[in-house]
Subunit: 346 residues, 2 copies
């Protein structure tokens, strides 16, 4: 019923590998073998980017993410706006209006306070742009050499829009798969920056908050089935997760994948498939066919969605698979990422 | 109007010191100079262990904490139950019933999965005991040497009990100051474990969730003014924070401070003042004089509160100060912790 074919090592007596944090098959195994059995509860089992629960007469969405990106400053952003945008987008992908965020810092002894100020300013700008408040926080300092400069955790709560039910299990045969922007820009930006590579024009991270765009979309198209930001593991891993949740086959059209010429060139040079490279300002939207055109147009009305386009369809139910129809009209399976392509991307 | 007398270095062009994470004067300076100006909003300015806000017809409390304790396993607990109890207690100290927690892990490559399982089991036990669910999470892995085994962030939301208004600014002259248990046990446990010291009987951390005990207290004594768990910086720093928030003078009675003989011996040997050593299963309760006796009795009905006792009084308003009346009836000022006594205590 799913596409797991590669042997995964048993985790008894084993050690944590970078791939356990890669957002793909190994992360999934860690979650399913260790976290879910221990913490088992209906909210956790929603297996979404966030949990949705009732509080009084409201439905709240709740999410958390730690950010360990290396380097902490990169073209297009830094660990600060990344930490705000990441959590804002996870809430928005639950169909919620993000309201309140927490910020918890783990800082290495000796970190420059001027850098902390830069990061905090950038968090403030990102929070203002998204319309959220940072309402409480925490600061820990660890001795030199015991963490890598700064790690930031943000958690967030938001109110789910009335009448909205975003859930990967709602994916149906016939649905359209739309992406809000060009792919692989965040991952390639981090990598080129980390490796000291330079291309003709610098590739910027796409980090951005998508909540205003998505709220507008949900108000106009309340029947959206799924929203998901394809971060670690990229579009390929995210669509595989959705395909497994809904037990559907998704077919992508290679010719329509939006990749900028610079990112395409960098991917070719470095041997990366853009489908597996992380995005931090894009969202996958799965919507009934009849709303596909309207969805794309609505996304394009926003600067973060100006390159929105349809990239595929849900072609059948009963088999969890993601396939790619290539430019030469052959078809290949697009599996979930298994190892770790680019550690510490977010 | 307050007791800041020691010169604090300017933080322009400066670097983060361990003391910035010590929960005392330097942490306060970092928060007031960098975080508050940037993130400024009315909820953050509540300056509480958590933020309290309305969501629909409920009042919610919301908090976050990262845990970087070293060692990760210690007598009486581990980083797992510490992370659950810490966040549960922060919510309970807002007068809330803790409901949902998030758990975000930053793990060093090579960490033993068997240790991760132990930690996760201990989180589960602590969550069950406190009656909370872990509803969503995150896992990041960083390369070997880029963090110290495992760091855990927990955030939590809870519903504030109706009619309850816990706020340090409500502290009034005449209020009684009560502590729920013996002090300094967590800090001394960590330290002796870290340094490989051994005493006749091992000193255990007091880590425990206090929400059931505090809920019972608030149901019986809704006029409690302040609840605060004296973690980093100990009883001395926590009471100084409260004294500054309310602009009051608090007088402690040295003879009534509950310190076990083993902890007292260890503190003498190591040169620590138990008033500055961290607690993870104790709470300071500030309550109008007329409820002092009832509060102590209610706390003593619970295993975590069996050593509860009154340790002092709020003696006047108009001057922020904490004083200690010593056993020989002299009086000395108890300032907030300024440097870092014991890094990575939680």
């Amino acid at each position: 019923m799913n596409t797991i074919t590669c042997p995964i090592p048993k985790i008894e007596n084993e050690r944590i590998l970078l791939a356990h944090g890669g957002g793909g098959r190994m992360t999934g195994k860690l979650i399913h073998d260790i976290f879910y059995p221990a913490f088992s509860n209906p909210l956790l089992e929603q297996q979404h980017d966030g949990a949705v629960f009732n509080a009084g007469n409201s439905r709240l969405a709740y999410t958390t993410d730690s950010f360990v990106v290396d380097p902490i400053f990169f073209p297009g952003g830094d660990i600060g706006d990344l930490a705000i945008n990441g959590t804002v987008n996870d809430l928005a992908c639950c169909g919620a209006v993000p309201l309140y965020l927490t910020a918890a810092f783990i800082i290495e002894e000796g970190f420059a306070i001027s850098d902390l100020k830069k990061i905090v300013s950038s968090m403030k700008r990102a929070a203002d742009k998204a319309g959220v408040s940072i309402v409480t926080g925490d600061t820990k300092v660890v001795d030199r050499g015991k963490c890598d400069r700064i790690f930031i955790n943000t958690s967030g709560v938001g109110i789910v829009l009335e009448g909205i039910n975003i859930n990967p299990t709602r994916t149906k045969a016939g649905d359209a798969v739309i992406i809000s922007g060009r792919i692989a820009e965040h991952g390639i930006s981090i990598l080129t920056c980390r490796e000291g590579l330079s291309f003709e024009s610098s590739i910027k991270s796409d980090t951005a908050s998508l909540n205003n765009m998505l709220r507008n979309l949900l108000e106009e198209v309340p029947s959206v089935h799924v929203l998901r930001d394809p971060t670690r593991g990229g579009v390929a891993s995210t669509l595989n997760e959705i395909a497994e949740s809904a037990n559907v086959t998704i077919e992508l059209d290679e010719a329509s994948l939006p990749v900028s010429p610079q990112v395409e060139a960098a991917c070719e040079l470095l041997g990366f498939d853009p489908l597996y490279v992380a995005n931090e300002g894009g969202v996958l939207v799965i919507v009934p066919e009849e709303y596909a055109q309207k969805t794309t147009e609505l996304l394009r009305n926003h600067p973060e969605g100006r390159n929105a386009c349809r990239i595929g369809s849900v072609v059948s139910e009963g088999k969890a698979q993601v396939r790619l129809r290539t430019i030469v009209q052959s078809s290949r399976i697009v599996d979930m990422i298994s190892g770790e392509q680019l550690p510490r991307i977010c």
